[in-house]
């Protein structure tokens, strides 16, 4: 009897508790939902007068439809304002659902598994391969001809073809993003540097001088979570992470150079070792007066420390063999299960209008992806925009491979294990090549 006594209890205990193994996941994905008011009368004059901006005739009969839109990050409120003009013009409502960047993959897999997705979604370029592999995006090749702003010619060179493999049309560039070097000209000046560093060597030398300002002062900042950074270093070393046959290959001299460059800052003790370092705060206080980041950091600095205006600047990333940087950004696409593809495309067409693109840059500092808008922005006399545009022209995409995300994480783990725990570099590299082989194989 003894056995029969404890067995059910054990099983019950075990069963229930295993179920809750991951059940405690906090619902930190506090999505905010709201609907753009239909009665928005704030139609911008420029919107109605625009020549190419008139939404095509296909919106007839679509008034009153509601589109669900997934936006990533914390720009939902600004986005609702942006699309109020679209609602006023077409009568199509847009319901915006904000998804934090680190919850995007969860929402994607749940939506793919349940078949319940939005109508239109923003897609961070690093997740684009996963969206396509998950068949989450609709191929709109047959419909797109009706939308004047969505032709391949609207976007820089061959970007449409690169981002839409296999001749399909899954998504359209919406915002571009690149990485430039941010530096505090006042602090560099105090240390005797009149110009920001232009090469890898100068960067390291200047960072070392700046780090000597005190025990809590650093010269440079490397985000421990920044997976694209080591890849950009590999490009700057003149190499690539993709071999000629299209497979992921890290066992190259250039990748090793990138690793050495990355680790050199830790060796010299000129970067913070804290993983919870706040880059904007570190830059504003001057504790880490140089870092590589995107235009959104400029927005954060202007918001949080307007008094610093004039004492900081941006420049192209320092040169190893070249100064190629990361091309990032977001696309927008129609969800594969959407019942309103015409309304969805009308919205995307609206988002691709140059004036919408410029309004979005003004609102949240995200660079236009439409060539005409970028040209117009460059024509202004904003020195920072000139740097962004020059860097964008010299930037590359991360590998468009669903396995890349896991590989990028392995690279970071390898680098940080050497930088933070003093692991042996040779051994860590060998382990990295092993795990990459495992990821690629299956």
């Amino acid at each position: 009897m003894r056995l029969t006594n404890w067995r059910p209890l054990t099983t019950a205990l075990a069963v229930m508790l295993v179920l809750t193994a991951c059940g405690g996941v906090s619902e930190s994905e506090n999505s905010t939902e709201s609907t753009t008011p239909v009665t928005s009368a704030t139609t911008d004059a420029s919107v109605t007068e625009t020549t190419q901006g008139v939404v095509s005739g296909t919106t007839d009969g679509l008034a009153g439809t509601t589109l669900n839109f997934w936006i990533m990050g914390d720009t939902a409120t600004a986005f609702e304002e942006l699309v109020s003009g679209f609602t006023a013009e077409t009568g199509i409502n847009v319901k915006v659902d904000a998804i934090p960047w680190d919850a995007v993959n969860d929402r994607l897999t749940t939506a793919v598994a349940s078949g319940e997705g939005p109508d239109v979604t923003q897609i961070g370029l690093s997740l684009l391969p996963t969206f396509i592999a998950g068949e989450a995006l609709m191929d709109v090749s047959d419909l797109v001809g009706d939308y004047p702003n969505l032709t391949a010619a609207s976007f820089p060179s061959d970007i449409m073809a690169t981002l839409n493999p296999g001749g399909a049309t899954y998504s359209f560039p919406w915002v571009s993003d690149t990485r430039v070097l941010f530096y505090r000209s006042d602090i560099l000046g105090d240390a005797g540097f009149s110009e920001p560093p232009a090469t890898w060597d100068e960067l390291l030398k200047m960072a070392s001088v700046l780090a000597d300002r005190g025990s809590t002062k650093y010269g440079y900042y490397i985000p421990q979570w920044d997976a694209p950074l080591p890849v950009a270093y590999t490009w700057q070393a003149g190499g690539d992470v993709i071999a000629a046959d299209g497979s992921i290959d890290l066992d190259t001299p250039e990748f090793r150079d990138a690793v050495d460059h990355y680790l050199a800052f830790y060796d010299a003790g000129v970067v913070p070792t804290a993983g919870d370092w706040d880059q904007a705060l570190g830059f504003i206080t001057g504790d880490a007066p140089m870092l590589v980041s995107g235009p959104y950091l400029a927005g954060a600095i202007n918001d949080q420390a307007p008094e610093l205006e004039g004492s900081w600047g941006v420049t192209m990333v320092p040169t190893g063999v070249n100064n190629t940087s990361l091309f990032a950004g977001s696309n927008v696409g129609v969800w594969s299960g959407s019942e309103n593809p015409e309304a969805a495309l009308a919205l995307i067409d609206y988002l691709a209008r140059p004036e919408t693109q410029l309004a979005w840059y003004a609102a949240v500092n995200e660079l236009p992806a439409v060539s005409a808008a970028l040209e117009e922005l460059k024509a202004g006399d904003d020195a920072m925009v000139a740097v962004y545009a020059a860097q964008l022209a010299n930037s590359r995409l991360l590998p468009l491979d669903p396995a890349w995300d896991a590989v990028g994480q392995e690279i970071l783990t390898m680098l940080n294990s050497v930088a933070l725990t003093g692991a042996d570099k040779g051994q860590a590299l060998a382990d990295l090549f092993d795990s990459v082989a495992r990821i690629v194989e299956g």
Binding site: N5, W6, L19, C22, N105, T130, E135, T413
Partner: protein, 327 residues
Amino acid sequence: MGVLGRQEVTTAAVPARPTHHEPGSTNTSRKQRISAATKSLTPYGFVAPSFLFLLAFGILPIVVAAVVSFTDLDITGLANPDNISYIGLENYRRLISDSDFWRSLQTTGIFIVFGVPSIIVISLTIALGLSVSSSRLFRVLRMFYFLPAITAIVAISLIWGFMYNTQFGLLNYLLTSIGSSPINWLSDPQMAKVSVAIVAIWRATGLNIIIFLAAIQSIPRDYYEAAAIDGATGWASFRWITFPLLRFALLFVTVTTLIAWLQFFDEPFVLTDGGPVGATTSISLFIYQEGFSFNRFGYASAGTVVLFLIIVTVTAFQLRLYRSNHA
């Protein structure tokens, strides 16, 4: 360390209390007019609702996970079932050769070795202190100690994240203001384990203090009076009266705490996301990352099956040990 899990244990564990008698056994002498068939079916009627729940939310997901663990399910398989193929034990073979998996097991083991005794000792000590009096002050204190158990993990992680922060955290501010050098609470791989464990221990004590306190207060005062007459000191009455009479509470807290640490997830997930360099990646977090960050659902399912077997084994062993000592 889900509160949900603990509540389920409570309901599951109660029928198994050694002192518990089934109502039927005391009533057998009574003449009852219901037929034998109805009588034997009645208990099933009572357990049916919870059994159905267990079936739908307990057994079924485990069966599904077990089935998925033999496939290569990923996001393409979610979109289109044609993309799923049966790969036999391949996921388990890879799991065994995955150093990250072994590392997460080892990390979980370290957390258990330090976490379980800490929670038991701290909870019991505070419960003993709180049982000294039932004055207004002590009632307020009881509430105070229970707070961590009812505070949302997101709020906890925000507050602790701020306190631990390297640049502007309270703890480093205090350290530097007394002339000591700052500590990388969440960034140093060794220290991060400690920091995350401190939050988990702090959070788990709330409920366990209440369990111990209830158990202590249910011990009849007469025993202590009798012991006092015999000249027992405070320590002796604890050692020979309180401690032995707490054995069920101790077992319960040990089992639930151990299982909670085996499933350790919330604190590293919200505070460090398993970092730095995987130093706080527990087995549950490893499974989560494989499944929901990298969309390798088949592989992650194999991990959950292994974790399930570990928990079943550990729990069975503990309960058997308890019964052979006390039955």
